[in-house]
């Protein structure tokens, strides 16, 4: 069959189109586009291929899935197919993205603890280190070390890559907040909370981190190791009551940290992180409900909290 590849403005991206066999898959098409693109710039993870939609139509375009055959997307005519191409920009693997995001907090936080940074902010003299500041260091660094390990050994990603620009955006977020919190918690004029409050905070947080790890293991087992992604109904442990139990435990572990350290910086990080994760959770919950609608033999998605019982 002959595939015509156009940009969203209608211009031909690959002159003359591409000739492929009738049983070709989308992945084959992507490879062909990659080979034919100028300077072989458009590797497959950069390509977003959709079926053309009528101008003025409010429907979202159908994105081509790389596993499927091209003929699944031909409506009747098996000789010709037109696909719309969008360049997603330079891509990095999710592992790369997460590694750099998490490295910042892991490395920057101890700098404020171990090195005499505060004299450059005008605080001369010796610094008395409270026990809570030491525990906070261990807790924080353990958390980001755990995250990096999970990135390489536990998570199975639905998409292989993410745009390069996200590296800068996400690193700015993690590294800025990490430094800000480290600055406040390790400050020479830091005021600790009561010993009890600290114990409760770290204890609860640690429990949540362990739960969070278990949630990640459960999610991993939903996907096959061949990296094809896909969605399943999560089950077991906290997933029976809340869709995004992994986000829930993550939010609560950060809350534990804040109960123990009590800084505006930490709580504002918690607020922003909660908003971000809640947006993701709503999208995921909606997507799962849409896929698992109970029709055509598919199971129906059970009634569950989205992310933060009893609020949402």
């Amino acid at each position: 069959m002959k595939v015509t590849v156009v940009s969203r403005s209608g211009k031909e991206v690959i002159k003359g189109g591409i000739d492929l066999g009738d049983s070709a898959t989308v992945a084959d098409l992507q490879e062909a586009i990659h080979r034919r693109s100028k300077a072989r710039k458009f590797y497959p993870s950069r390509q977003r291929l959709t079926l053309p939609i009528q101008p003025g139509s409010k429907e979202r375009p159908v994105v081509l899935n790389f596993k499927k055959s091209l003929k699944d997307y031909c409506d009747g005519n098996l000789d010709y197919l037109t696909v719309v191409f969008k360049d997603l920009g330079s891509q990095v693997s999710y592992r790369t993205l997460f590694f750099w995001e998490y490295l910042g907090p892991l490395v920057l936080y101890p700098i404020f603890y171990y090195f005499p940074v505060y004299q450059y902010f005008g605080y001369k003299g010796e610094r008395i280190i409270h026990p809570v500041q030491t525990y906070a260091l261990y807790y924080w660094c353990f958390h980001y070390f755990k995250r990096i390990l999970e990135t390489f050994f536990v998570h199975r990603f639905s998409h292989a890559t993410s745009p390069l620009s996200n590296v800068f955006r996400n690193c700015a977020y993690y590294w800025s907040f990490g430094s800000y919190i480290a600055y406040c918690v390790n400050h020479p004029l830091y005021t600790p909370v009561s010993y009890h409050q600290m114990k409760i905070g770290f204890g609860f947080g640690l429990l949540c981190q362990i739960s969070n790890f278990y949630c990640h293991i459960l999610l991993r087992n939903l996907r096959k190791p061949d990296g094809n992604g896909g969605y399943q109904i999560p089950r077991g442990f906290l997933f029976n009551i809340v869709t995004c139990a992994n986000y829930t435990t993550e939010i609560y572990q950060l809350l534990g940290f804040n109960i123990a350290t009590q800084t505006v910086a930490g709580y504002s990080f918690l607020a922003v992180a909660t908003i971000i994760m809640t947006n993701w959770a709503l999208a995921k919950h909606r997507r799962l409900k849409k896929i698992f609608d109970g029709k055509d033999g598919r199971p129906k998605y059970p009634r569950r909290w989205v992310i933060l019982p009893p609020f949402l």
Binding site: C184, H187, L189, Q262, V264
Partner: protein
């Protein structure tokens, strides 16, 4: 019902735009009058109240955007309104030592001309259903000069205020405190100055794009 609400929206926005228009007209008139009669040192005293009123009223525009009363994305209006309010209240009102500076004159004149054109443009659209093409041209052309003069005045005044901010310790929260929070208004001012570095070209280029879109669209009609 829909027609009634739409009419109500039109009446409200007309009232809003023309009221704020008169506020800025007052600012401009008083600024020029005082400049000629008494010199630049007195300009702030003359314009203070109408300036504060007209500029603070712009907060309503954020709400208009949020509830969908107007189409403008708040991502464009929010930085503009924040910087205006910062200058009006956070610098000029808070630090009287800056009020006699000549940059105050260039600031209020740049702002008032821009706003007079902008509010009359929207006011006419709400009342008449359209705005005359010369007004459209003014709205998308005067910024070419007034953005640089306005931005220079803003940056200049923040800079002039810096020593007074540092010395007064106003709006600063010091540690130790229960929430382990510190806020230094002086360093915030430095950060504010730094944001002008990427922010100004971004806004200017955005307006150039808007100009191209608006003026070519009107040519086609």
């Amino acid at each position: 019902m829909a027609g009634f609400l739409s009419l109500l929206r039109r009446i409200y926005l007309s009232l809003y735009n023309w009221t704020v228009f008169f506020g800025w007209l007052q600012v401009f008139y008083l600024a020029v009058k005082t400049l000629r009669e008494s010199g630049h040192e007195q300009v702030y005293n003359a314009v203070e109240r109408p300036l504060q009123f007209a500029q603070t009223a712009a907060l309503l525009e954020i709400i208009h955007g949020l509830v969908g009363l107007v189409r403008s994305p708040i991502s464009a209006t929010l930085p503009q309104i924040s910087s205006r309010l910062y200058l009006t209240w956070g610098i000029l009102w808070s630090f009287p030592q800056t009020q006699g500076h000549v940059l105050v004159t260039s600031l209020v004149i740049s702002w008032s001309i821009t706003e007079i054109i902008r509010y009359s443009f929207f006011g006419m659209k709400e009342v008449l259903g359209f705005a005359p093409s010369w007004l459209l041209w003014l709205r998308y052309s005067t910024f070419l000069l007034l953005y640089p003069t306005g931005i220079t005045s803003e940056v200049g005044l923040i800079y002039v205020a810096l020593p007074y901010i540092k010395a007064s310790e106003k709006y600063c929260i010091r540690m130790p405190n229960k929430w382990n929070f510190s806020f230094d208004y002086f360093y915030m001012a430095i950060v504010a100055l730094a944001t002008y570095v990427p922010g100004s070209p971004h806004m200017y280029i955005y307006m150039l794009g808007q100009r191209k879109k608006a003026l070519s669209k009107s040519k086609k009609e």
